[in-house]
């Protein structure tokens, strides 16, 4: 669907990245300065790479060898900028209609209402961008890009300039966009919580190079990428389904291939598919089934890999009935328990560890976990 190969030198920085992706939401993840924005600027035609080839839906947009370079306006790629970039002299309605006017007539949306409704911006139509909150601006920017009937939507850290409350306000709209609008999205972010919640595919960028590409769950479970995905927040993604609510203790029971999890009450109906990020730092290891322990979640598994280092921290990969979990322990604990690959252990997770940041929303599970949920 999208195939990108780009080589571009900007001063001392060299961008040399290539990846392919199929629909859904592809996250370009990496630290600031990793080349994420340069890469989507190349995709949207705002920069002309020195060498490269960019193909969307079979149409070549850039091919330096064949001398092809389509200007941005001919690419039909919607761009949602970090700062919104709404036109200050136009009303919200005029902003929304701006791209629609230039869109091909046959593919033109007859009606802006579905998009306006999906983004909840109906009450803002007569207002000017200067009078909107940051979150409202971003929703209008998304609507404006969408109404130009793009075949691909690129979003450059659309939540970066917003506070936590505004982020929480917008995330569901982006999820809806991913699941309902049918437009593939390339989403740039350096926030792991956003990426794990939204992305079906992840491209990890580091210093201008692609370090890894793959389904989000598979990438997040790779301990060798922890230095890039961020140690503190890193963790595996588990595809789960809400099995029951426990009203007495205010808990919700989640079922996954790895076992059952009890988490603080979630206000979602039974049967909802949910992606949960289990942070490596929240996982404890026991050699025997623990007794007299307050933690509610105990998942049996087998150690598959231990990434040793000279530092005090060791990361290990655990296989829980086919699902990958990652755990972060001290080197001391690993040596005291004589942990080795192949060893059967119990992974223990406190219910309290499941705060709002680890739930990846009520979207479809990541591509790699599709089979597990359809079995339920």
């Amino acid at each position: 669907m999208l195939s990108v190969t780009v080589e571009h030198r900007l001063g001392g920085f060299i961008l040399d990245a290539a990846f392919d992706t199929e629909g859904g939401l592809t996250a370009l993840f990496g630290r600031s300065g990793a080349g994420k924005t340069s890469l989507i600027n190349a995709i949207s035609g705002l920069i002309r790479p020195q060498r490269g080839r960019i193909v969307v839906d079979g149409e070549t947009l850039t091919d330096t060898e064949r001398g092809i370079f389509l200007p941005p306006r001919r690419r039909r790629i919607g761009y949602v900028f970090q700062e919104g970039r709404l036109f200050p002299h136009l009303t919200v309605r005029q902003n929304l209609l701006y791209g629609r006017w230039f869109a091909p007539r046959d593919g033109r949306a007859d009606d802006i209402d579905p998009v306006v409704e999906m983004l909840g911006i109906g009450a803002l139509l007569a207002r000017r961008p200067a009078n909107l909150s940051g979150g409202e601006k971003q929703r209008v920017a998304i609507g404006r890009a969408l109404l130009a009937r793009p075949r691909l939507l690129v979003m450059d850290e659309p939540l970066a300039s917003l506070d936590e409350a505004r982020k929480t306000e917008i995330l569901p709209y982006i999820e809806r966009l991913r699941d309902a609008a049918g437009v593939p999205i390339v989403y740039v972010s350096h926030a792991i919580a956003e990426v794990t919640r939204l992305a079906t595919t992840m491209v990890v960028l580091s210093e201008g190079h692609v370090a890894a590409v793959g389904p989000t769950a598979a990438i997040m479970g790779r301990i060798d990428l922890f230095p890039l995905t961020g140690r503190a927040e890193a963790g595996a993604i588990l595809a789960t389904q809400i099995a029951a609510h426990d009203a007495k203790f205010g808990l919700t029971l989640l079922r996954s291939a790895a076992g059952e999890l009890r988490v603080p009450h979630l206000n979602l109906p039974v049967g909802t598919a949910l992606r949960v990020r289990i942070r490596a730092r929240d996982v404890m290891i026991a050699l025997r089934p623990p007794e007299a322990l307050s933690a509610l979640n105990v998942l049996p598994g087998i150690v598959t890999d231990i990434r040793r280092s000279d530092g005090p921290i060791v990361e290990m990969l655990i296989d829980c009935a086919g699902e990958a979990l990652v755990a972060r322990l001290t080197r001391r604990s690993v040596e005291m328990l004589h942990l080795e690959p192949g060893q059967a252990i119990f992974a223990v997770i406190k219910s309290i560890a499941f705060d709002q940041h680890v739930f990846a929303g009520a979207g479809p599970p990541p591509a790699s976990a599709d089979i597990d949920t359809t079995l339920d």
Partner: protein
């Protein structure tokens, strides 16, 4: 006292001529001014600083010099004036059109400067955004850039009009001081001060000049304020 408000036909002619000259000077230099401002603000070409200096010349040269250069170039025997007269039948020398040309040239640097400053202030990322939405360069300019620089254009127009309305040196050098043809308000005042008993006429025209200039300034302030509000979207 009554005498102060009784305008002679010559005076009325001079006032009307001044308004006409200033209006056409402003209007005709507007598209050129926007073009040159765009070139200076956005263009990258050899000799850009030279063009910049050339545009600003009328501001720093003595007006008499500018008028004399115009006379050399656009006079009946001048290289440009001759061609224009023979091919298109346009004559500047000693006509009101010549006065308009002189005034336009004198007001031009002010107009270009004002438009260029507002162009420099335009957030070019908004133009990029319009490009990703499918707009070509023409539409980006007309729907994004032009509305955003409107306050600067209005300010430039007013400055150019005011400069043209008060122009004296270049006008009198280029097209002389012919009543009914090239005698504008400032040159008429000058004439009054040169003849015995002309004081009252000079005073009358001075008051008119003050009134027109103040009105123009008030109107422009209001227009610029409204346009600026529109641009920042409040």
């Amino acid at each position: 006292m009554n005498q102060l408000f009784t305008f002679s036909p010559e005076e009325v002619t001079a006032i009307r001529l001044s308004l006409r000259v200033a209006f056409w000077a402003m209007l005709c230099s507007l598209p050129v001014g926007v073009g040159i401002a765009l070139l200076l603000a956005r263009g990258r070409f050899w000799g850009k600083s030279l063009l910049n200096v050339f545009v600003h010349l009328p501001l720093i040269l003595p007006p008499v010099v500018t008028g004399y250069v115009l006379l050399l170039l656009f006079g009946r025997q001048g290289p440009i004036g001759k061609v224009l007269a023979e091919t298109l039948g346009i004559v500047f020398a000693f006509r009101w059109t010549g006065a308009a040309l002189a005034c336009a040239v004198m007001g031009f640097p002010l107009m270009v400067r004002s438009i260029r400053l507002s162009l420099d202030a335009v957030d070019r990322r908004l133009e990029d955004a319009a490009g990703t939405l499918g707009a070509n360069r023409f539409w980006i300019f007309t729907t994004i850039t032009l509305p955003l620089i409107l306050p600067g254009i209005l300010a430039g127009m007013i400055l150019s009009f005011a400069r043209a309305f008060g122009e004296f040196g270049a006008t009198i050098t280029f097209v002389s001081n012919i009543p009914g043809e090239t005698q504008t308000l400032p040159t008429a005042i000058y004439t009054f001060t040169q003849v015995p008993g002309g004081d009252i006429g000079a005073l009358r025209l001075t008051l008119v000049a003050v009134a027109i200039a103040t009105t123009a300034l008030f109107a422009s302030e209001g227009m610029i304020e409204r346009a600026t509000r529109r641009v920042v979207g409040l």
